[in-house]
Symmetry: C2
Subunit: 221 residues, 2 copies
């Protein structure tokens, strides 16, 4: 029977953690290339401290970094860092076989959706750059739903879909944000063992290492 399949984005559809780290490294290397006289590791430690303080969605990490270094003319370093960061972000690639698997799920008659935490524009930007945005019937983002993923978020989504929870499947990497709350509202759950929480335990109904395992799991439901 056709299912409504919801996918998390970050570390489920593409290696977000890896790309974020590469983007930060590339930004720092670009600042050094522009003449900043600090070591890569020193700058990386400062940047990570700023991200921890300000949050990852704060838009001026590199301005703060230059201010802390008492850089009087920061423009060249900020431009180099932001440019290199965006270049890396522009080159995000999905996990292997994500686009083809999504297409095959659609062709099998299922409807596919996104359920993600974050800012709506940023999450759409990722789907567009991964070239899979148009595959989804709809995209549910915490910013637009007014709350982060939890039982109430998934209850709203199931209601909007006009579906029974048992006809819905949540696919994600996070035990706390994806598996536990989706299970709590009666959805099927598939936990992807990808990203920085790959080794964590999970109470999910199914687990998968590879995106290509999903169609078989769905077929068995």
């Amino acid at each position: 029977m056709p299912k409504r399949i919801l996918f998390d984005i970050d570390d489920t559809l593409f290696p977000t953690t890896e790309f974020a780290e590469l983007a930060r490294r590339n930004a720092i290397r670009a600042m050094i290339e522009m003449g900043m006289r600090k070591s890569e590791n020193e700058l990386h430690a400062m940047l990570m401290a700023i991200i921890a303080e300000k949050g990852s969605n704060y838009p001026n990490h590199f301005n703060v970094l230059c201010a802390r270094l008492k850089e009087k003319r920061p423009a060249r370093f900020v431009a180099a860092a932001v440019g290199a960061y965006h270049n890396t972000k522009t080159s995000i690639q999905p996990f292997p076989a994500v686009p083809s698997t999504l297409l095959s799920l659609r062709e099998a008659g299922h409807k596919i959706y996104v359920a993600t935490n974050g800012e709506a524009t940023k999450q759409w930007d990722k789907l567009i750059r991964l070239q899979i945005a148009l595959f989804f019937e709809d995209v549910f983002v915490s910013e637009e739903l007014g709350e982060e993923k939890g039982p109430s978020f998934f209850r709203k989504v199931v209601k909007r879909l006009g579906a029974k929870p048992g006809d819905c499947v949540m696919v994600g990497d996070r035990e706390d944000a994806d598996i536990i709350p989706a299970k709590a509202v009666g959805m099927h759950t598939i936990r992807m063992k990808t990203g920085r929480h790959a080794a964590a335990k999970s109470s999910a109904e199914f687990q998968a290492n590879d995106f290509r395992d999903i169609p078989k799991i769905i077929k068995g439901l």
Copy 2:
């Protein structure tokens, strides 16, 4: 004798006007690709009106566009537009022979600089993307100097360089911002017949259609 040669950026080092128009067109096409049911020309006219109202450095043109279209869930369109705009911006290319000519001027013993109106980070971003940022001894941006290009701007620059005005050369496309004020403080002037003001008359000491003409002009000073 070695000169201090100052270069404008926009429409002098690269075809800014062309790229800005292409970026806007690509942004609009990306919105349509994401499902916006308006014609390209209609959206273009709306966007140009918003840019005229808010200024070109306003950061939320596409949010305003979606608001005017009463788009209830604008994130996908804003993400598509901003992404396509930035992709185009990322691919800016210098006018023919700009990098090689700048290098040959350096090798001939001249010192080269930038003198530009705009926001410092945005202007540095352009130099970095054109891969010529490191060729310049320094970059003078109106935001950092506290005023737009005019006689007072160029007087400050000449003073900072510790040079005589007659040993300085301004190269730019704009009669009002580049040629008239640089001449007023006694600098040599070369007017590039490029960009959207290419056909305008000029009082510059020299005019050039091609960047490769600059070394010969400088040699004759």
